[in-house]
């Protein structure tokens, strides 16, 4: 967890740790009564793949919108590629690419026309546009469809085209807001192979938001965000190690009774999660036989799992991401509000 201590001055010397390409300190955003982001601080190093992991409504999209200068922070600082988001928004925009959660292509233009529009808006030199077009279209395997109207594309093709467009001007940081949400697993895997390939080829920093655990696993470092606050930061491995404990899930006839018994007899705080009684212990393999012998509540099945990012999330927030998604439905209101504002 390397990301605290943000109030120390940013290093400018070339030795030691490189200067962060994204640096955020005590950032907050409020929409009326709703505090969507509550004082988050983090840094992203050049070339890193960094993810915000959290349920819908946790403040991920709001934070990305602030970093991309589409929203103004209520308080705190944020700098991207060395430019302050409030003082030099155009400087920020010149050095970033952005792939939005909702489609932002012009359906009535062809794939190539969409890319050309972008290249000209970002002032890619005319002499390089053709070569760059070929490169990015090839990378996302849309070369054959370059002259087709975008309205004839599938959801996955559109997302690939958006990624290609975000790369047209060779940005320093590529922001991807839920890059694979709503896509089928095969397309998701495809898109991830593009993302990883181009990170190597283009040497760019990736900043993405996701609520998929497997997607977060693809990243070098992640911040877990919940209710607008960062609750943990680290590599997927260190986060899992920090949780340490294995997860046990029991399928029982009477969950309430089992939870009481676990607390009274074993001193374990268990929770009901998706119909299972779930809790964390160290050395689950040794503990399980003793548990099954001594537990009086009838048990139908037992499942033991090594820590996953879901457990990390649970350890820090007290719920799984999916539970959080369910209870986040009332906060969706504030999220759609935020989005309506963004469109202006």
């Amino acid at each position: 967890m390397t990301v605290t201590g943000l109030h120390e001055p940013v290093r400018t010397d070339s030795g030691g740790e490189p200067e962060p390409v994204v640096s955020v300190a005590s950032l907050s955003k409020r929409f009326g009564d709703v505090e969507a982001v509550r004082g988050v601080s983090f840094r992203v190093a050049p070339g890193e793949a960094f993810a915000f992991l959290g349920p819908n409504g946790a403040g991920k999209s709001t934070t990305i919108s602030i970093l991309c200068t589409l929203l103004r922070p209520t308080s705190g600082q944020a700098a991207v590629a060395g430019f302050d988001v409030l003082e030099d928004p155009l400087g920020v925009r010149r050095h970033i690419g952005l792939v939005f959660q909702d489609p932002t292509l012009d359906d009535y233009l062809t794939a190539e026309e969409n890319l050309r529009f972008h290249a000209q808006l970002y002032r890619v030199p005319a002499s390089q546009i053709a070569r760059r077009l070929d490169e990015v279209l090839e990378m996302v395997e849309l070369t054959e469809r370059r002259h087709s109207l975008v309205r004839t594309f599938s959801g996955g093709m559109k997302r690939r085209l958006e990624i290609a467009r975000g790369l047209m001007h060779s940005p320093q940081v590529l922001f991807l807001d839920e890059p694979t949400v709503g896509l089928d697993p095969q397309t998701r895997a495809h898109i991830w192979s593009y993302i990883n390939e181009l990170r190597v080829r283009e040497h760019i920093t990736m900043f993405l938001t996701t609520h998929y655990m497997d997607e977060a696993e693809n990243c070098e470092r992640l911040a877990i965000i919940d209710h607008g606050e960062i609750v943990a930061t680290g590599t997927p491995e260190t986060l899992k190690q920090a949780v340490g404990k294995d997860r046990i899930e029991l399928h029982v006839d009477d969950p309430a009774e089992a939870i009481d018994e676990l607390r009274d007899e074993f001193g374990i705080e268990a929770r009901l999660s998706e119909g299972f009684v779930a809790f964390h212990v160290t050395g689950a393999e040794e503990f399980a036989p003793r548990l099954l012998t001594e537990l009086r509540t009838p048990t139908r099945s037992i499942r033991i799992a090594r820590p996953t990012l879901d457990d990390v999330f649970m350890a820090y927030t007290g719920r799984t991401i999916r539970d959080a998604e369910a209870s986040a439905s009332e906060r969706m209101h504030s999220r759609s509000m935020a989005r309506a504002r963004m469109r202006r």
């Binding site: 103004r72 002032r123 060779s170 202006r344």
Partner: protein
């Protein structure tokens, strides 16, 4: 880090500042034209209404009126119909900004490294170009309504169309600048379009109106767009001077009949104000 910065520098046209903004205006303008060229249906349907007014309403009304010294009623309506075509096209082309917002493309432009004002200017240039082109199609029918194809007249009319197209597109953009739904913009458009059209003197001389309404016509921007076109056309058609005077009396502020130059200045001023307000409204960030 330095190598990255170098790579970035290589893929960006030098210049910045004003040249970036001009490039942005050009590319937004180009997209509007591409989209218009692709939408043949819109091209055709937006000409149907003016043609209906000119040939059906025009013929019907002229049969009711006594033949007035060689000046056909359709000749009288023709300048109004040109203004109508430009006005309707200009206003509805502002719809594209609401469309972009509702269907997401707006964010692609908002996050680009250009000022939002440039997006508005590009939209205005695009809408005005389309509106002028549509006006020119109607203008091509001049011979059918006894208006001569004189070089000087055509040039004057195209110039006046460009000016009104810019100002009226700017008006549309201002109306659209804070709207998030295509449907609500349509409602506002219908609310604005016909009253402005009827009060402008496009299809009948406004002097027949009751006093209070003729005051209202002075606040209708379209009044100052229709009149210069009509005066240019009437200067080139045959007919008794008294009849021409009755049908093309000019716009009066009190006892002062506005010269054409002042009318054009009024249109230009309206355009500048509308555009400035639209840019200001559109430029706000939450």
């Amino acid at each position: 880090m330095s190598t990255t910065a170098l790579a970035i520098g290589q893929v960006r046209e030098p210049g910045g500042g004003l040249r970036d903004e001009l490039a942005a205006i050009a590319v937004v303008w180009h997209r509007e034209l591409l989209r218009f060229a692709r939408n043949r249906l819109r091209m055709v349907t937006s000409l149907v209404q003016p043609l209906l007014f000119l040939f059906i309403l025009g013929s019907g009304l002229s049969s009711m009126l006594p033949s007035s010294g060689h000046v056909n009623f359709k000749t009288f309506m023709f300048p109004g119909i040109i203004a109508m075509t430009v006005f309707f096209t200009a206003l509805s082309s502002a719809l594209s900004i609401v469309w972009d917002r509702e269907f997401g493309f707006m964010r692609e432009m908002l996050v680009a490294p250009v000022h939002r004002g440039s997006i508005v200017l590009g939209k205005c240039a695009g809408g005005a170009t389309v509106a002028t082109l549509q006006g020119i199609v109607i203008l091509a029918l001049a011979g059918v309504v006894n208006v001569p194809y004189s070089g000087g007249l055509l040039l004057t009319l195209v110039g006046e169309m460009v000016l009104m197209a810019i100002s009226l597109t700017a008006l549309g953009l201002l109306l659209a600048s804070r709207m998030t739904q295509v449907e609500s913009f349509m409602a506002v458009m219908n609310f604005v379009m016909l009253p402005m059209f009827f009060l402008s003197g496009a299809i009948f001389p406004p002097k027949g109106l009751p006093a209070w309404l003729s005051v209202v016509t002075k606040f209708d921007p379209l009044t100052y767009a229709v009149d210069p076109v009509r005066r240019a056309v009437f200067a080139h058609v045959q007919g008794a001077a008294s009849v021409k005077q009755a049908l093309s009396a000019g716009v009066r502020w009190g006892h002062w009949t506005l010269p054409i130059s002042v009318e054009l200045a009024v249109i230009a001023a309206i355009g500048v104000v509308m555009l400035a307000l639209a840019m200001q409204q559109f430029g706000r960030t939450e």
